[in-house]
Every structure is written in C-alpha cells, then in structure tokens.
C-alpha cells in the first residue's frame, strides 16, 4: 500500500535506466532534498548542526568515496584517512602559497591531489587483491601520516604541527557559523552523491561491478582492468580528499595529521560495511549509524546507571558494540542497512496483499 508503479511504462532503454525510474521515487527525492535544505535549517539548533549534522555529512562523503572503491569496484582499502589527509593538506597548501585562490578551488585541488596519490597507491592493485591490497593501502596510511608529521613544509613551518584553517568566504558571504557550514557541506555532498549514483549506472560503473564480481571474467569480456581499477582508485580518492578538506576546514577548523590516523580509516570502512557495500544510500546510513551510536550509548549509559558509569567504560562498551555489529551485519546481512531498507520497501509495496 506504500505506492505502486503500475501504469508507468518504459518505452526506451534510456527511460528504464534513468537515475530514478519511478515517478514516486522522484517525488521522494525532491521531498528529501527540500527537507534537508529547508526544514532542517529551520528547526535544527547550533548543537545539532555543528556537532552532528556537519560531521555526519563530511564522513558520509568519505564513506561514499570508499564505497566507490570497495563497494563498486571491490578493491579493499585501509588507507582512506590518508587520502583524506592529502586532500586537507593539499587544499591548505594551495591557499597558503596563493592566498587569493577561492577555497572551493582549493578543495577541488585537494581532491585532485588525493586522486593522484590514490592512483599511485592503487598501482599494486593490478597485481594483487584482497587483503594483500589492504596491506598495500596500509602502507599508504602509515607513509602519508609520517610525511605530514615530519616534513614542516606541508604545515608551513608551524611550530605545533596544528594549523588553523584559513577563513572561507563565498561570493562575499563568510562561512563561519554552523548554518552556513551546513549549507556548504550539504551542497557538496549532494552533488557528489548524484555524481556517484550516475557514474555507477554508466559504462564505468558496470565495468567496476564486473571487476568486483570476477576480475578474470571481466578481463575476458574486454574490460581494461588497469584503466578500470585505477579509475576507481582515482574517483574514490578524489571524494575522500574532498571529504578530508571538508573535515579539516569545516568540522575541525584545524589542519592536523592526527585527525587522519588509522582509526579514522577503520571507522570509514565500518560505515561502508554497516551501511551497505555498493550503494550510495548505504554510505549515508552507515555514517549516520556510526555518528549516532556513540551518542546513544553515552545517553543510555548515564540513563541506566544514573551518571555513575565512567566515560572509559562507555568507550570500551562502544568498541564491543561496534565489533559485534560488524560481525552481526556480515553474518546476517552482508549488504548492510541499505539492503534492509530495500527489503522493507519491497515488503511495503506488496502489503497488505501477499502477491
């Protein structure tokens, strides 16, 4: 009884493969965008905007990036945070060297640099796969973290290694309060999400999925493995780099290597696994889950014990819950929250009639 697509006939392949083939889906998407752009800013307070929604959006962008690589192209990466760091530091450095550059251009530059580094560290993927590749990306993680910590040129010879991000102005408006930051991040994330969704249903996206499902077979039907895999690394790292720049500029307000350690890489991998491999909505669901769960646990903990439970204990329980959820999802629903949502939709479509 949810909605029906009866009567919506597709008369061409183009229509069948549209980004949102069903009319009601289009309405839902527009409604959601309106909700994000109008309703949320009207009702959310600064706490929600600054410490939940903006970090959530920035991390979903990183998860989206990793999802391109791991979910669509099937190449596992444990170096996401390193690519984010490249994005953040490259944007910062461009702005330091050429102060009159607008920050959006700097962000793009950050993304492009991250894409370059990503392609470089993606080269081993031509010979190895699976966790061997994971190790290669771990090398990227450690090397890049070290590079930014030990070479003062990247931090512009700042003594503490922590640098304040330059202020951002767009068309004369200063982006300094939570609401404007929210709009900035939201716009970038929405554009990127549509970009990925579109890419995934194009020839490139189908090539990625063929490589993911079986690379030997994909090669046999004429897919250029090198091009496909490196493109996946490039696009993924571009998005991660953009997310890194957003994370440093908008969320933290500082550019520091410590914000991009290996724990961050794992966090984003978890978002992708919990949210759903190979789905755009999964990146958002996973990021939302990973951001909200600690807050929920904290509140539950103090509610049950009346505030006597230590933050340390909560942190440990958080570890356990994350671990358990990862295992749970892999066993029960390897395709994550996004798949659960889809199953729910299918069920609702037929309800209350079983056929």
């Amino acid at each position: 009884m949810f909605y029906r697509e009866a009567g919506q006939f597709k008369t061409s392949y183009k229509k069948d493969q549209a980004i949102l083939p069903i009319f009601q889906d289009k309405i839902a998407m527009v409604a959601m965008l309106l909700f994000c752009f109008i309703v949320i800013p009207l009702f959310a307070n600064d706490y929600w905007l600054a410490s939940i929604l903006v970090p959530f959006l920035a991390l979903s962008l990183a998860a989206l990036g990793l999802n391109v690589l791991t979910g669509y192209a099937g190449q596992i990466s444990l170096g996401t945070a390193a690519f984010m760091a490249v994005g953040a530091f490259a944007s910062f450095n461009l702005q330091v060297r050429i102060p009159e550059i607008p920050f959006l251009v700097a962000f793009l530059w950050g993304g492009l640099c991250a894409a370059g580094v990503g392609i470089l560290f993606g080269l081993p993927s031509l010979r190895i796969k699976g966790f061997y590749l994971a190790v290669a990306t771990l090398a990227a993680q450690f090397f890049i973290e070290w590079l930014f910590t030990h070479f003062d040129w990247f931090t512009n010879y700042s003594t503490s290694g922590v640098i304040t991000a330059p202020p951002m102005t767009l068309l004369g408006f200063a982006i300094d309060n939570p609401l404007s930051k929210y709009f900035l991040v939201l716009s970038i994330v929405v554009i990127c999400a549509f970009f990925v969704r579109n890419l995934a249903r194009s020839e490139i996206g189908r090539a990625w999925m063929a490589v993911r499902d079986m690379d030997i077979a994909a090669e046999a039907i004429g897919i250029n493995l090198m091009k496909t895999k490196l493109l996946a690394f490039g696009v993924s790292s571009f998005l991660c780099g953009l997310a890194g720049a957003l994370w440093a500029y908008v969320v933290l307000g500082t550019v520091e290597p410590q914000a991009f350690d290996i724990a961050r890489s794992f966090e984003i991998l978890f978002m992708v696994v919990i949210g759903g491999l190979g789905s755009v909505s999964g990146a958002f669901l996973g990021a939302g889950f990973m951001i909200l769960l600690p807050i929920l646990l904290n509140n539950l903990g103090s509610l049950i014990t009346g505030g006597t439970i230590s933050t340390e204990t909560i942190a440990h329980i958080e570890y356990m819950v994350f671990g358990a959820f990862i295992i749970f999802f892999l066993i029960v629903e390897p395709n994550g929250l996004a798949r659960l949502w889809q199953i729910g939709k299918e069920k609702l479509r037929l309800w209350p009639f079983p056929y």
């Binding site: 771990l138 090398a139 450690f142 070290w146 910590t149 991998l269 990862i326 295992i327 892999l330 390897p334």
Partner: protein
C-alpha cells in the same frame, strides 16, 4: 663506519624481528588451516597478556596463571568458532577478513572492560637493561631470551605439525578443505584446535611483549607490525614468519639508524610496509609462500 655499532644495530634488529615473528606466527597458524587472515590476533595478544598479568596480580602463582589463561584462550577460540566462523563458512575471504576486524574491536573492548586499561608491569625476573658484551657491541639479554623462547616455540610447532595426528590433520585441512572432510577430518574441531593454538601463541607473545613494553593497550598495535612480516615471509609458512620477522626487524632498525637521520626520523613505522610493498610487486606470495594459483 663503526662496524661494532653496525653489529649492535644488526643483532638488535634480528632479535626484535624474532619478537615480531612471535606475533606473525599466530596469523600464519590460522591462515594455514582456514585461509582466514585473522586481524584480531593483536587483540588476542592484548587479551591474553592482560588476563595473565591480572591473574598474577591477584596472587596466583605464575604457572597456574599460565594454565588458567590458556584455558580462557581455548574457551575464546571455541566461542569464536561457534559464533563468528561457523555462520560465515563459504563466504568470501574478504568478508571473513572484515569479520575479524570486527572481532578485533570486540576483543579489544572486552579485554579492557573485563580487566582495565592501565599499564601493568610484568616482571619475569629478567633485567631488561642487562646486556652481553661482544667486543664493543652490547646485546640486550632480554631480547636474547625472547628470541630463545620464540625459537623454541617454532621448533615445537614445527614438530607438532609434522609428527602428531592433529598436526597432520591440520596440514590436510590447509591443503584442501573438501578432501580433508571426505577422509573424515572434522573441520570444526580442527578450527577450534587452530584458534586455541593461535591463542596460546598469543599468550607467549603477550608475555614477551608485555614484559618489554608493559601490558597495555599499545600491545595490540604490534599486530600492525606483524602484517608486513607476513607479506614478506609468505602467509602460509612457519619458517617464512621467522625469516620475515628477521628481515623486517633488521631492515627497520638499520634504516632508522642509517637513513632515518636524513629524512627526519621515525621511519620505523612505515619502512616495513614499503618493504612489503616491494615484495608484493615482485613476488606476491612472499618468500616462502605457496604459489597463488587462480582457478576460474
């Protein structure tokens, strides 16, 4: 060039490499028998070491504490097999790998929740700073003992794999799951054996590392050092784990001392990974690994 100093760094590297091998050994055991790359090995080391040190602090004699910890590790192995591995049979290896990352977080959280997250001193009665003197080089005594323990463990494991019934069954399972099943080797029991053995190896590694660094959360990150060891030595080979450990230990110490100065130091963290990357490019299966054959 000061050759005595070189010797000191070289031997120090070899000995610390043996300690990496101890951790890597746990990975190899599980990989050999089930094809699972167990990312949680580091957490198991932490868990074993914490359990052991807390039992000691409760006043339980050392041998009894070792015994009790071993029993706990076996129980953990059974739980892992029952709860995590059994439902994931026949899944992609990469799914299993990610499941062990989840397991890693779970055990890390559990270890610190059940025990605590303070730094514990583990004193085995060996002075950490005592050193042998060879010519003008100083060799740390503690490292030598650790190396002897590791060597002994490898010898015992190799003999175990070669001459006991269980060991032979393990090798059979490693070769071919289905063939092993068809001649009547119980796969589930074998997995429990392997994970228990890996748990006990984790205990030994935990005791050695714990008395060197103090038993604390940082121990679990030793596992990250063991990964390049595996890549270099080969995932499937016990001697490979040892040789890989030696190469990584030596390489990183020598690189730190002789190259680190030029580029700002602290290259220990990534040098082994770059070495591993190099090996991956040339020989993906590692020095002693079995050749990777892809069937379509």
């Amino acid at each position: 060039m000061d050759w005595w100093f070189f010797l000191e760094v070289f031997v120090g590297g070899l000995l610390s490499g043996v300690m990496y091998s101890l951790v890597a050994l746990g990975f190899v055991l599980i990989f050999k028998a089930s094809g699972v790359f167990n990312f949680a090995q580091g957490a198991m080391v932490l868990f074993a070491a914490l359990t052991f040190v807390r039992l000691l602090e409760m006043g339980i004699p050392m041998l009894a504490a070792i015994g009790v910890t071993m029993v706990i590790m076996v129980i953990l192995a059974i739980a892992i097999e029952r709860i995590v591995l059994r439902p994931l049979v026949n899944q992609d290896l990469i799914i299993l790998f990610m499941a062990t990352i989840g397991l890693n977080y779970f055990i890390e959280g559990m270890a610190q929740l059940v025990w605590d997250s303070k730094v514990h001193v583990l004193d085995l009665g060996i002075d950490e700073y005592d050193a042998f003197e060879i010519g003008e080089a100083f060799i740390n005594k503690f490292d030598v003992y650790a190396a002897l323990i590791a060597g002994g463990l490898v010898l015992v494991l190799s003999l175990f794999f070669r001459y006991t019934v269980i060991g032979r069954a393990l090798r059979a399972v490693a070769d071919d799951h289905q063939a092993a099943l068809s001649v009547g080797i119980p796969l589930r029991t074998i997995w429990i054996y392997v994970w228990s053995t890996a748990g006990i190896v984790a205990l030994v590694a935990g005791i050695v590392w714990g008395s060197k660094l103090g038993v604390q959360f940082a121990i679990s990150s030793v596992a990250l050092k063991a990964i390049p060891v595996l890549i270099i030595g080969g995932f499937t080979s016990v001697p490979g784990a040892i040789l890989g450990g030696l190469i990584v230990g030596c390489g990183e110490k020598l690189a730190e001392v002789y190259l680190g100065g030029f580029v700002g130091g602290a290259i220990e963290n990534w040098f082994p990974y770059m070495l591993a990357l190099l090996v991956l490019m040339i020989r993906p299966e590692g020095i002693f690994g079995e050749k990777i054959i892809e069937r379509v």
